[in-house]
């Protein structure tokens, strides 16, 4: 079973069937010329038989001067699969928005042909180009070639992770701020934080241009920056009519689904009570020709999303209800620094910033990072009466208090 070509890979072969492009075919393509990929194919077939993985984590590996960007991985059967006894991945910081030229892509491929398995993930869940599997010895040479070609590593471990952004103004009419510019700027500004883990745990930025949140930032970024607007939705009444004529049931499928029922259609004119519009995007989504976000645009900044480990999954919650997002983004970055300072000082090992915020309470957290509390930060005020009133009068204060009355 151990070597493909001997017993073959009957189970994996099953996964070459069917209409969806097959990762097995990809590994096989790579395996033709690359012994690591060949070994991987074989080991994976074994996993399929045994219904168990064969990887271990272990000692820290990386490139000189960086603490992140490489995931060390070892097979637990090094003797049987010596070619992938080490099989580390490099996380290469993708171009913001995942735009490529064919040349850039080929450059990556060529480097990886020389130094690794020839397998990639385009892309990892955080957004990086994942170069999937190489040996410890190849890490430094790969890195040298990457940087020579203007590529650099992304994050891993307790560092800032590679920021990501939706396609935004590059191709989307709804982008309320320049997601690509912000994500790129954050990446460049915080290169040190990205490459040298010094936080209690990981920290992710994701930039979405509007409330549709096409990078899932509210679910998976410690800081989610989501575009929005604060003036009126722009309406082209003729196009509304046209949308109806094209078959859209505006009353049922737009008005009735508006979360605050603030949009009305009388068959002639669409009216939006913008004061009660919560910028959910639904009406705009359904009529892209007729409706557009307002002109006074910016973003809501939210904090704290993460997966379940350790204290349970979190969605980001509102930190700044509305702010303009414009270079050089000083205000935003200052706030980020204050958050990192507080987190670095008070965060426990492996405690995400969202968990810290939950542990100390949003109220105290805001105080620490010098942000004023506002009702927009809450779904609703507290329900429970266990209030930590912070001050009380001592007997001596009585007279003053009496006087105040």
């Amino acid at each position: 079973m151990a070597e493909p070509g001997k017993n073959g890979t009957p189970m994996l072969d099953e996964l070459e069937k069917g209409p969806w492009p097959s990762f097995v075919t990809q590994i096989k393509e790579a395996a033709e010329k690359n012994k690591m990929s060949k070994a991987l194919l074989s080991l994976l077939e074994r996993s399929y038989h045994e219904r168990i993985g064969h990887w271990k984590h272990g000692g820290i590996v990386g490139v000189m001067g960086y603490g992140g960007g490489v995931i060390g991985r070892y097979s637990d059967l090094p003797e049987e699969y010596p070619d992938i006894a080490h099989f580390h991945t490099l996380r290469v910081n993708m171009p913001t928005g995942w735009f490529y030229t064919s040349d850039a892509l080929r450059t990556i491929c060529d480097i990886w042909e020389r130094h690794g398995s020839g397998l990639t993930n385009m892309h990892g869940s955080t957004g990086d180009i994942i170069l999937l599997g190489t040996t410890t010895d190849e890490l430094e040479p790969t890195f040298a070639e990457l940087t020579a070609n203007d590529f650099d590593l992304g994050g891993s471990g307790s560092d800032m992770r590679t920021p990501s952004a939706c396609v935004g103004p590059a191709r989307c009419e709804w982008a309320c701020y320049d997601t690509l510019a912000l994500a790129y700027d954050l990446t460049q500004t915080f290169q040190d934080e990205l490459h040298r883990p010094a936080f209690p745990y990981k920290f992710k930025f994701k930039c979405a241009g509007c409330p549709n949140d096409c990078v899932a930032s509210i679910a998976r970024a410690d800081m989610s920056i989501i575009g929005t607007w604060r003036d009126e939705i722009q309406i082209d009444q003729k196009e509304v009519k046209a949308a109806e004529e094209a078959g859209l049931n505006i009353q049922r499928d737009v008005c009735n689904l508006c979360p605050t029922k603030c949009i009305e259609w009388d068959g002639k004119k669409l009216e939006i009570d913008d004061e009660n519009c919560v910028k959910c995007m639904h009406c705009i989504n359904t009529m892209p020709k007729a409706l557009r976000p307002g002109k006074d645009r910016g973003a809501t900044i939210l904090l704290g999303a993460k997966a379940p480990i350790v204290e349970g999954a979190l969605l980001s919650s509102v930190l700044v209800p509305f702010t303009k997002i414009e270079p050089p983004y000083e205000e935003l970055k200052d706030m980020v620094e204050r958050i990192w300072d507080f987190w670095s000082e008070h965060g426990k090992n492996r405690e995400r910033v969202g968990e810290l915020m939950q542990r100390v309470g949003l109220g105290n957290f805001l105080e620490a990072i010098e942000v004023e509390p506002t009702p927009e930060m809450l779904a609703h005020p507290r329900e429970n009466p266990y209030v930590f009133y912070e001050e009380y009068y001592e007997e001596g204060d009585e007279e003053e208090e009496e006087e105040e009355e």
């Binding site: 969806w20 000189m64 001067g65 171009p95 995942w98 042909e113 899932a216 997966a307 204290e311 349970g312």
Partner: protein, 356 residues
């Protein structure tokens, strides 16, 4: 020497990779239209048009395949392409007369075109047995089997709204499956094994602190400091294993998959929300995980048949109520569906608003 070595340069500037039509119309797009499955056009204030053709991808790709994409980009798009946040490939054209030929070439190469609009898009997923030590199931294999089964929903079968499927091979949930219309989640069901010599590879206080349910206690075995695990209190999160490799969790007999439904990320209509448990356990049955494929299809079909326009999975279930969801899907309701972690109490039904 330090001067020779380039570090901290960051990624190449994306601006250098944008096609010229984008450079020209950056931030000045006016509207878009979906022309047919997998093809849309964005029209700029200037009147310029940008056509996008979206192709499905296995994400795990060899450099050979990527080079083929580069070739297609050269052939049709002046060398420009991008990937999406769900790992599809997007070809960016200004000349719509080339679309058919591009689609034909993609098909030839085995990549279906679709996923735009009210469709099932690519499954966000993770490493699985291909690369991760923590995996309770494979990722790519299940994704392939499920997408084979559902591909018609990618390539154009009409649907009420978007449907986002995600897979994570363990509770770490790389890929944030916790807010998906349908999430496929690898799970362990057996407490970690305790390997000998643990004290040599791990800091015992860290290991103890890592457990969210305080199930790990210090112990001494044959004179060696180690830990013991109160199995009753282990809920298989594997956080101890992340902290200490001497506590492996993987177990061929007990690992498998759970299915979650009704999460979403967008703010459209309803607020973002977590997925909820639909099926507590399905076995790992490689190479094609028929139980998982079947379970996902069943849920998709119930939604497809009963949901109203623009209704995401969770919005649909909220309208009909969870009891009815269980009835329609035929999924058995079990004790495991009832939360028992921190916020459990808030998930109990605290009203008599019930369908009888």
């Amino acid at each position: 020497m330090a001067t020779e070595r380039r570090t901290d340069i960051g990624p190449p500037n994306y601006q250098n990779f944008l096609p010229s039509v984008i450079k020209k119309n950056y931030g000045k797009w006016k509207y878009h239209e979906i022309l047919r499955p997998g093809v849309m056009v964005h029209v700029a204030e200037s009147g310029d048009k940008l056509f996008t053709v979206r192709a499905g991808s296995p994400r795990l790709m060899s450099i050979h395949r990527i080079r083929k994409f580069a070739d297609l980009a050269d052939k049709y798009c002046d060398g420009h392409l991008r990937f999406t946040s769900r790992n599809n490939v997007e070809f960016l054209l200004t000349d719509d007369s080339k679309i058919d030929a591009l689609i034909a070439d993609l098909k030839e190469l085995g990549h279906p075109v679709g996923g735009i609009g009210n469709a099932i898009s690519n499954i966000v997923h993770t490493q699985g047995w291909v690369h991760c030590h923590s995996a309770a199931t494979d990722a790519s294999g299940i994704v392939k089997a499920v997408m084979d089964d559902l591909h018609e929903y990618f390539t154009g079968k009409e649907m009420p709204g978007k449907l986002r499927i995600a897979l994570a091979c363990c509770l770490n949930m790389c890929g944030a499956v916790h807010c998906s219309d349908i999430a496929i989640l690898g799970i362990h069901r057996r407490p970690p094994r305790i390997l000998g010599g643990l004290n040599k590879v791990c800091e015992i206080p860290n290991v103890i602190a890592s457990c969210p349910t305080a199930a790990i206690r210090p112990a001494t075995v044959e004179g060696q400091a180690t830990v013991e695990i109160d199995e009753e209190n282990c809920m298989f999160c594997a956080n101890c294993f992340s902290v200490c490799p001497a506590l492996p969790m993987a177990d061929a007999l007990n690992d498998g998959v759970s299915i979650w439904v009704g999460g979403k990320v967008s703010n459209a209509r309803s607020e973002p929300t977590f997925s909820k448990l639909a099926i507590p356990f399905l076995p790992n049955n490689p190479p094609r995980w028929p139980e998982v494929v079947e379970a996902v299809r069943n849920i998709v079909e119930v939604w497809h048949k009963n949901a109203r326009n623009f209704e995401r999975m969770g919005e649909f279930i909220n309208r009909i109520g969870w009891p009815r969801f269980f009835k329609l899907t035929g999924i058995e309701f079990q004790k495991e569906h009832i939360d028992d972690f921190k916020y459990a109490g808030l998930s109990y039904k605290r009203s008599v608003q019930l369908r009888h």
